[in-house]
């Protein structure tokens, strides 16, 4: 049986339904990220797990125990907030010790556990400092230690990296993942940053308008997006409008290019509109490149972005972006030049709305 189960969860605020019939089962020790734009319901789900919000319908259970009737303080859950939420009147030591003191643990135990936690986040030397004497990254590490100190059964992370600068974000997310693996704690992470979600999760839930559009591994989410929303939200994706050429032969037409899809077109008829997706990093402009499929079009722009060169070319009214790695001897495609992008037919994804 799964460790954390969200069964048919619904949540409404007045007339607005923010979470619509949400199901998910999370295994013990799993790191699951909720990814989506603002207002998609991801934080509401996290707050319902924490007990800050009550589901309008459905059941949340942890280790087989229904949590619905329990207060937040009775759930044994750790949480890290976006705004750190360290108690300004307490030192780092006292902040980390807070949960243990509230639980009435003996002083010697508290001291031992706090030291252990501070060692885990490499801040033993700052035990006597106050939150205002720490940097944002240090404060968030203390918040993590404080959340973990009472040995919670689930750890909730509510956009913990959003307030930090780019460099600290990357190092801290790796540290969070490493600590999570070390402790084997079931973790739910809320973010609107796709790179964060893709880099540290076992599974990702892509939320859209109160529903899970797709639940899958980072690779699944990125390479096989289930809906147009997932495709457009995760990574940069070319959404190409095409026309079904011959359903029996599984072919579509993009401008003058006729392409045979790997995926079955399904119940569509010849002449029907269809959307397909293609990652900008798929394929090559090189003539010697392998690939059973090709798209030919005219270059409309070519941008040098440092490590990559992004070329946009037009095919049948669609502008398609293509990224290639930079090299010192690389010649950029010229405006108006006709180029052919070669790729595998399996790189094309049929988009279901």
């Amino acid at each position: 049986m799964s460790f954390l189960v969200l069964d048919s969860i619904k949540k409404s605020f007045g007339q607005t339904q923010v979470v619509k019939d949400f199901h998910m089962a999370i295994e013990k020790g799993e790191f699951v990220s909720f990814l989506g734009p603002s207002g998609c319901g991801k934080t509401t789900i996290l707050r319902m797990i924490a007990g800050f919000e009550t589901p309008s319908d459905g059941v949340i259970s942890i280790a087989g125990k229904n949590q619905n009737g329990l207060k937040t303080s009775q759930r044994n859950i750790g949480m890290v907030f976006q705004a750190y939420a360290l108690f300004p009147n307490m030192s780092v030591f006292d902040n980390v010790a807070f949960g243990l003191k509230v639980a009435g643990q003996p002083k010697s135990e508290i001291e031992k556990r706090v030291k252990e936690m501070l060692k885990l986040i490499h801040l033993e030397h700052l035990a006597d400092r106050y939150p205002y004497q720490l940097s944002g990254g240090q404060q968030q590490r203390v918040a993590l230690a404080r959340a973990l100190a009472p040995k919670p059964q689930v750890l909730l992370l509510d956009e913990p990296l959003s307030a930090l600068d780019a460099k600290i974000r990357v190092s801290l997310r790796e540290e969070i993942r490493q600590i999570q693996r070390q402790l084997g704690i079931t973790t739910v992470f809320v973010t609107h940053d796709q790179e964060e979600a893709l880099s540290i999760s076992d599974r990702i839930v892509v939320m859209n308008a109160g529903r899970a559009d797709q639940i899958g591994t980072p690779s699944d989410i990125y390479n096989r997006p289930a809906t147009r929303f997932v495709a457009s939200f995760v990574g940069t994706l070319n959404i190409i409008d095409a026309i079904v050429e011959d359903p029996a032969a599984n072919t579509i037409r993009i401008g003058e290019n006729v392409i045979k899809l790997r995926e079955p077109i399904g119940a569509l008829k010849g002449g029907d509109q269809v959307s397909i997706a293609l990652r900008p990093e798929a394929g090559s402009l090189n003539e010697s490149a392998t690939g059973d499929t090709a798209l030919t079009g005219k270059v409309v722009s070519s941008q040098f972005l440092g490590s990559v060169v992004r070329t946009r070319f037009e095919v049948g009214g669609n502008q398609i972006s293509f990224d290639m790695f930079n090299a010192p001897d690389k010649i950029l495609p010229q405006l108006g030049e006709t180029v052919t992008l070669r790729f595998a037919a399996s790189d094309l994804l049929l988009i279901k709305d």
Partner: protein, 262 residues
């Protein structure tokens, strides 16, 4: 630029003269009790007066009760409104401003009609009851200052997130309020406390009409019957107020050094 600077200094000078000359005059007059020379006799006379000691002690006690019970009313209310009922803030601001627009004499007459010895809640039927009523009336008078200072201090911390952080760590309401919120709004609590102290010490209307032996009515009594002592008392009252204001400044300065954001 130079003219505007001169005018600014002129305005300050007029203000200082307007404020300090009467004060200096009062102080100078309070030293003239002994004929032909300056002395502190008037102060000696005031401090040795048993009534001064009694009324001053009584007012200090009333001020302390006002501060304690006022804060027990204001801090949880301001906290709860910020946390759960933010839409009620304008209503609460209006209610707490009422004592500024309703004259104290109207409030105290209202109390006397509501809580007289023949009413359902006869506060004025006993000395203890009247003292309780006096503290409650002082709480009402100081409400605009207490509420604002506490509410301003609460604005500097993220009350909701701190509460949730404490709650998820297993803390219950008393722990959250007294260990996580109260210490972080202490500067506001102390500011409110000092202003309340200054108000209560010199208050006349409530104490006089409730017939309690407070410092305000004593000041009036001495002023009506003696020559030099009222000036000495006025200087003492100013000194107490200034001390309170000085402590308030000190607290604000220390709170600026300490963290304010969660």
């Amino acid at each position: 630029m130079k003219t505007s600077k001169f005018l600014a200094w002129l305005a300050i000078a007029i203000g200082v003269i307007y404020f300090f000359i009467p004060l200096l005059g009062t102080f100078e007059f309070s030293l003239r009790m002994r004929r032909g020379e300056y002395s502190l006799d008037a102060y000696g006379s005031v401090f040795s007066d048993v009534q001064f000691q009694q009324t001053f002690g009584f007012s200090i006690l009333m001020a302390l009760f006002t501060i304690v019970f006022g804060m027990l009313l204001v801090v949880p209310t301001a906290y709860w409104v910020r946390l759960r009922l933010p839409q009620m803030r304008p209503v609460l601001e209006f209610i707490t401003l009422m004592p500024l627009v309703i004259p104290a004499i109207v409030i105290v007459f209202g109390y006397l009609r509501l809580y007289n010895s023949s009413s359902y809640i006869p506060f004025t039927g006993s000395i203890f009851g009247t003292n309780v009523l006096l503290v409650m009336s002082y709480i009402t008078l100081s409400l605009p200052y207490m509420y604002r200072s506490v509410d301003t201090a609460m604005r500097t911390i993220d009350v909701r997130t701190l509460t949730e952080a404490a709650e998820i760590l297993g803390a219950k309401w008393p722990t959250i309020l007294f260990r996580c919120i109260f210490p972080n709004v202490m500067s506001g609590v102390l500011s409110g406390a000092f202003i309340t102290f200054a108000i209560v010490i010199g208050e006349f209307t409530m104490a006089s009409l409730l017939d309690r032996p407070a410092f305000g009515p004593y000041l009036q009594l001495v002023g009506a019957n003696k020559a030099y002592e009222p000036s000495a008392l006025a200087i003492i009252a100013f000194a107490i107020t200034w001390l309170s204001m000085g402590l308030l400044q000190l607290v604000s300065r220390f709170s600026k050094l300490a963290p304010s954001k969660a």
